[in-house]
């Protein structure tokens, strides 16, 4: 029974990792840019949730979409104001620009909110669901299910709609996309918007059961990078499977080995998996 409990807990957290990582992998897949500010996008979304709850007194049904909307805007603005220009520069400029952006965001938050940890009231989505001895916190259940549905929706959008087809076309061959009459700029801006919105939703959901601080993005984004590497760069289904796997591994290892060791286990397995399959689990060689 404990095993079912641990795996379920792991899958719920893993689904949030998957959504978080889908945003990162989408941006990478579209333009081969690693968004080092992705964790700070998550942090930003958590503060959006915090401000929304403390000043507007709204619940997750409103602040999760709000965080998605705000972060979508942030993503689009970041693309047009920063990324579009540095894409013409050398690789190092691209890496440092998103890294610098992340620093600006987190220190701006230090300035506004100080380094204190804050959190949402845990009565916001309180309570525990008990089914056949399985005990699930409503907050984590909500986060996991919403994240899973949105990751699946993103995948369907990319593979089943005309818009997704255009996004993938720009991702695969920008020049060929231009030849059929697609303007790459709006597509890439859209990818940044969607990628940031994924981080936004993930952040707002995580805020339901996690502390909020200007540096909170660090620990989360590291997991996202591992997920993207494991799943294969640019693959949303890959991010989904890898995210779920990492969630379960974390959950199992923290119970059987000890919470202090779960990161060692996750990153150790990650190195091992990369050593065996450097292109990622679902990545193309």
């Amino acid at each position: 029974m404990i095993l079912v409990q641990l795996v379920t807990d792991g899958l719920l957290v893993g689904a949030v990792y998957a959504l978080l990582s889908s945003g990162l992998t989408l941006i990478w897949g579209m333009m081969n840019v690693v968004n080092f500010a992705h964790g700070d996008f998550v942090m930003l979304a958590m503060y959006v949730a915090f401000i929304a709850v403390t000043t507007l007194a709204i619940g997750p049904a409103l602040f999760v979409p709000l965080a998605a909307l705000v972060l979508f805007g942030v993503g689009v603005v970041v693309y047009y104001a920063l990324i579009r220009n540095v894409m013409r520069g050398p690789m190092l400029a691209q890496i440092l620009s998103t890294f610098g952006l992340g620093l600006v965001l987190r220190y701006a938050m230090f300035w506004v909110f100080s380094a204190n940890f804050v959190s949402l009231p845990d009565t916001l989505v309180g309570g525990v669901l008990s089914v056949d001895g399985l005990r699930l916190q409503y907050s984590r259940l909500l986060a996991g299910v919403v994240a899973l549905l949105l990751t699946a929706a993103l995948h369907l959008m990319l593979t089943r709609t005309a818009l997704g087809s255009r996004l993938l076309a720009v991702a695969e061959d920008r020049t060929a996309a231009m030849l059929v009459g697609i303007r790459p700029d709006p597509m890439q801006a859209l990818a940044w918007g969607i990628g940031a919105a994924c981080a936004g939703v993930a952040g707002a959901l995580i805020a339901l059961f996690f502390y909020i601080s200007p540096l909170v993005g660090d620990s989360l984004v590291l997991i996202a990078f591992v997920t993207v590497c494991l799943g294969g760069f640019g693959s949303v289904p890959g991010a989904l499977f890898a995210g779920l796997a990492i969630g379960v591994i974390e959950s199992l290892s923290s119970w059987f080995i000890g919470a202090a060791w779960k990161d060692v286990v996750v990153y150790g397995l990650f190195l091992l998996a990369l050593w065996v399959r450097p292109q990622g689990l679902l990545g193309k060689s």
């Binding site: 087809s165 993938l168 076309a169 231009m178 030849l179 059929v180 009459g181």
Partner: protein
């Protein structure tokens, strides 16, 4: 007035000169061949017409109006489609998805099913494989798909970059038969070819490029009988 006329076109890549002085004219309903050795500037000329590279000088007139420097999507909207060298298909997507992408700039969306039917009539093979991933097809099928994708935008002028490159002789014959059929349907074609012999068989008019400039022009028959062309481009 020519459908397309290019005057003293120059394109630079940084300090490098892509083409220096290309001049040519394409009349409606014709097949025009652009001949020349590798590096003569054929691809650069087509890319400049299609709006992929901005010209550094000269003029490109489409139905009498200048279009040089317009972005690629506006060129497609005006009725010029380029099927590029190496096909540049969206290999991760299906045959049908590639064709639908070709219709991105189709102004009248109701025309889309008719365009699909038209392409599938031209290339029944593509209809059989509409759900297949483009990346898993043979060279001949990829050429068909590249042509089909370009035709989906309902162009008035089709630019073709090396349609015979890398294809088996039997497939090349099919491709050129298709080009003649498209011409019979009223389409105008400008094709860049290294294989001059083939191109001159179907071309109404041909231009010979050398190191980025037009050095010779004439009807297909004239150039095929021209000793200089034979020596330089037809291998004897």
């Amino acid at each position: 007035m020519s459908l397309l006329s290019v005057k003293d076109l120059a394109v630079r890549y940084g300090d490098l000169i892509g083409v220096g002085a290309v001049t040519l004219a394409v009349e409606a309903g014709q097949i025009v061949a652009l001949l020349g050795a590798n590096g003569a500037g054929k691809t650069t000329t087509l890319n400049a017409i299609a709006g992929l590279v901005p010209p550094a000088g000269g003029q490109i007139l489409w139905q009498g109006k200048p279009i040089q420097g317009l972005p690629a999507h506006q060129i497609v909207s005006r009725g010029i489609a380029l099927s590029p060298e190496g096909w540049r298909l969206f290999t991760g997507q299906s045959v049908e998805a590639n064709l639908r992408l070709g219709a991105t700039r189709l102004a009248d969306r109701k025309q889309l099913p008719h365009r699909l039917d038209h392409v599938f009539t031209l290339f029944p093979r593509l209809a059989e494989r509409r759900r297949q991933q483009a990346g898993t097809m043979s060279g001949g099928e990829r050429q068909m798909l590249a042509l089909g994708r370009a035709l989906m935008s309902a162009p008035k002028l089709l630019l073709l970059d090396e349609p015979s490159l890398g294809l088996a002789p039997a497939v090349v014959e099919q491709v050129f038969a298709t080009l003649l059929r498209l011409k019979a349907e009223g389409l105008t074609l400008l094709l860049a070819e290294q294989s001059a012999e083939l191109a001159l068989e179907v071309a109404d008019r041909a231009y010979v490029l050398q190191t980025g400039a037009t050095v010779l022009s004439g009807t297909g028959a004239e150039l095929a009988g021209n000793a200089e062309v034979r020596r330089a481009y037809l291998g004897g």
